[in-house]
Symmetry: D2
């Protein structure tokens, strides 16, 4: 495992993957599982496209109440939690070179290493993905917007417990956080990078 | 590995161990090695005393330029770096129950999980230890003081590249950060806890 | 003008008034003016009730692009901007004893004095009011929730450019930020204080 | 009073003036008064030189326990406090165009507008001045260094309660915060700007 910074992010862009390494065993998990698994497929396609463009992937993930800062232990535990959690880990497990940031609260910027990592990568434009659209993705988008990051939140890459709330969150991210919320059919990672 | 929070910190106190899991291979490392190894002995005694009192240990440790948030990988790499680094790891390696916070900069409070962990533990009083006294320990003390934590910085538990700078830093922590800087001969962890 | 802290906030509660001292001259201001003026009436009633209960009022207000940190100059300028802005200032102008925090971005917690003021007041429960419901109020609610403040956002006390977005924001604050969003007909400031 | 941002800071530089608008009536004030008044003279010369170079001045000043965010009231109160405080205000009172940031704690970066103002100004290099060298100047320097600002702390422009502690703080800023601590005889504001 390395995850050193070797070169600046292409197009000043990083792909941010929020809380997808997830036990999915909270009380209302059944309401989000199908949508989360679908989002995982889209995020995997985004990550493949990011790889092809030189865009780094940053996992920004809840600590699950364990304060050991041990990504390996965290992933192992999620893998054993249940079949859906394991399928998503199989699809999206971070690689040697991927960055991994542990967050103890909802926003990826609050009390995490992210505010130091992003400038080191030369990243000022973020593709936000993950769960839940109206909680951790929304809070992260708000914090990113205040810190003057440009945002793209592809609707296919986010999910929540309720499709209506996903839509509200997307509309609020578009209106209040100046986020681009175009779908993957109208914009590719390569397009976004080229526009940077 | 667990590191869940099961009960409040005794006496509202946490033992903070800064940057002791360390390759010690930077250019001027020879200047700090003897002092760091001596501090490690004192920190181990403090940790044993903390164990006996119900005071949790929190490792607050530099990421060494690796953004993987993987404590196990970080410790393994340090263990292999050189004999001094390994001896300190052997003495101070974090246990299953110890908290581990990764910091990307000098202060333990800047862009880390610490500001969320401490209130969860009910900790408002910190015993600060580690290296370097005039850099990471000093910066962490400044941030802790502004956030209204009470501080004890036992001189035996800190080290720097230059004994004079260690003393200046201790005097500044006492005067500017209201830190208690009594030595281990005049105050024990049990005394500090009892005064909480 | 004094605004010193003389006693702890009753019921651990502060009334937070966001961006109501406002030129209301941005491009889409006509869309929010009627709703903002109605909210101002409700906020005044809330402030009167807060006065009666010993709950302090904290104005958290945008700097309007002026980095002089001068509340008097800021209020004078708003008063002269246009009739609606002036009517709201007449209704809600801060008094000698009210706290005033200047914010340079959307959230009341981001790069402002608020994170230091609230603990000094002993406030851990916030009544959030002001504009816009889906921007500055929403961002402030997110930050407050992560810092473990309890929130009440009375719908009468907030406004936005679009009644639908006000409702979405309220629903997201209820679901994602554990905010109480009961109206003033079902909960008074005295009720909220008594429940603290 | 305006204090809008009209153009980027020359040489990416801002002159930061810490806590010089000060009642100087705390218990040990007699120990710092002579040194503070001498520093005020140097800061005035620095501010004149900054004016000539297009370098903006940012006052970063304690709120004195008043949470009204009213620079005018704060300055008036200091002016009336005692003759030394008044003489320093006469020498250094902020002008219409100067930026003024109110801080509630020791560091100029903690819970203040400064982290948003500096990027807006395009400032990445700071000339730090003010009191006390081993408290607010030191804490601000630490925070600035972690945020990757380049620092110049001219010894003539800082003062503390004890000349030895001023020297220790300067040495720590040089060693631990990569600060330039050359005196005004070996570097001018114009030199610093030209090197940007």
């Amino acid at each position: 495992m390395d995850a050193t910074i070797t070169e600046p992010a292409a197009g000043g862009t990083a792909l941010v993957i929020i809380d997808m390494i997830n036990r999915l065993d909270f009380e209302d998990a059944p309401d989000i599982i199908a949508a989360a698994e679908e989002a995982a497929q889209a995020i995997r396609r985004l990550r493949d496209a990011a790889d092809a463009c030189g865009v780094p992937a940053i996992y920004v993930n809840d600590n699950g109440g364990k304060w050991h800062s041990d990504r390996s232990a965290l992933i192992e535990e999620v893998r054993g939690a249940n079949p859906v959690a394991r399928r998503i880990v199989d699809l999206l497990a971070p690689r040697e070179q991927d960055y991994f940031v542990i967050k103890p609260q909802f926003s990826g910027f609050y009390a995490t290493n992210l505010p130091v990592l992003l400038p080191r990568l030369g990243a000022s434009r973020l593709i936000l993905t993950g769960i839940a659209a109206d909680i951790c993705v929304l809070f992260t988008a708000a914090d990113a917007h205040m810190r003057e990051y440009d945002l793209w939140v592809p609707p296919e890459g986010v999910a929540s417990f309720d499709a209506r709330r996903t839509n509200w969150a997307l509309e609020i991210m578009a209106k209040s956080m100046a986020a681009d919320t175009r779908g993957l059919d109208s914009q590719s990672v390569a397009d976004w990078v080229a526009a940077g």
